[in-house]
Amino acid sequence: MTDQHYTFAYLDEQTKRMIRRAILKGIAVPGYQVPFASREMPMPYGWGTGGVQVTAACLTPEDRLKVIDQGADDTTNAVSIRKFFARTAGVATTERTTEATVIQTRHRIPETPLRAGQILVYQVPIPEPLRFLEPRETETRKMHELEEYGLTHVKLYEDIARHGQIATAYAYPVKVEGRYVMDPSPIPKFDNPKLSGSPAIQLFGAGREQRIYALPPWTQVESLDFDDHPFQASKAPHDCDLCGAAHSYLDEVITDDRGGRMFVCSDTDFCAGRRAKGHVGRLGEPA
């Protein structure tokens, strides 16, 4: 079979239309989980079927696509999805955050600030922020409807009671425009402040759970906390060992079996960009 047998961006036009409707509804009601008829995609659930469908519905032939997985452009998931759209949509691809018009991401927000006109598509495994506290879907819907969000604080209370601080480090619940409590997908809480007031459109797709939700540009997003235990965006207390960046989110890499380790930027494009400009970290070599 040749590539011409696919409709543009793999999905048929009616499906894309249905997804676009869900996206528009999500943008109209920020943070609200819109059900949609998620399709089977040629990849397993958990690999980003929701994000891929949202991306497919957003792409135009003029777009330039970037795909990241935990911040990296060169991991299996990112490479596969990028190739998938290069083949089925024929769109240009890039690894540069600044050049991309559509960015599909798994578990990170790029370090480089986004700009107006860009779309950031998140892959979401479990869209319901209340799920682990309340297993009944009928009940969680009612709680969203009636704004009964005391339970999210019970989770944070338990964190402090057990660990002395809010130990939730990723998928940290947020409140959107003072209304819906939303799961920001498993991004580190370091990225939470970037959700708020972003000039880009942020779309969230959960394929298995069949939900789409969205943050339109300039939406106010507030991370939940206690008055005496305020929210803190945390990261490893190091600089990047390759580019020396002090304020980027770091991955810890074990380098040998004698306790050797290094910390590197999880955002590979950001790190490479800094090194190209001549920044060198503790273990890096000048470019």
């Binding site: 506290l133 009636l146 009964e148 005391g150 339970l151 604080h153 019970v154 209370y157 338990e158 402090i160 009671a161 057990r162 206690f226 008055d227 005496d228 235990h229």
Partner: protein, 267 residues
Amino acid sequence: MTLLQPSEFSTKIRSPDQPLLRVEDLTRRYGPRIGCAEVSFDLYPGEVLGIVGESGSGKSTLLSCLAGHQRPDLGRIAYDGRDVLAMTETERRRLSRTDWAYVHQNPRDGLRMGVSAGGNVGERLMAVGARHYGDIRAKAVDWLGRVEIAADRVDDRPTAFSGGMQQRLQIARNLVTGPRLVFMDEPTGGLDVSVQARLLDLLRGLVRDLGLSVIIVTHDLAVVRLLAHRLMVMKSGRVVEQGLTDQVLDDPQHAYTQLLVSSVLQV
């Protein structure tokens, strides 16, 4: 109509002349069968009403209709002069988080078993907007003390507690927001007698100190003898006899009540 904040309850003058809860002709059917039928009563502030009857007599159906877990087919419920059945769901759920409390027979139904004792007690506070960890925790410890649970158990999960402790924890969790009306469904069921006795003692003290109005459903006549001021006897979904507790138990008029009273084993 706006609801009161929990802090306002104590300042609000409670008039003992007005019934807190007025129930008229409450009927709930399950298809052709009757759950409970034509139940009417008034409950005054500070009063404890016992509902007794055998299994299947409709007492639990009645309680769940009153607490808003089920919608009755017919009848009226007025709480503090307001029509409960005409309220929006938001109002009713808010009421059941602040003014009302519901103690389940099985503490596992009323507790979050995966959450620490402190979190269980604090949940209702957080649900009505408490956002200060230190305050919530202090209040949780205070309430654990009132139900005789040691302060160092505050971070243990209810799974590590005995049945009696779980039931006391459930009571603390319900009373922390200062409710005025408490529904209890067999609160001593499944506990051995010595634990039962201590729980009843505790309940009696709390009811007296806090001036709670209580509706208590049980099939244990000893429990109502100790706790209830007034008694309603139900059979086949209908109230067959009601009156002062001692009067009903010592001088039963209806044949079924006589049977019930004479069935109790004398030790």
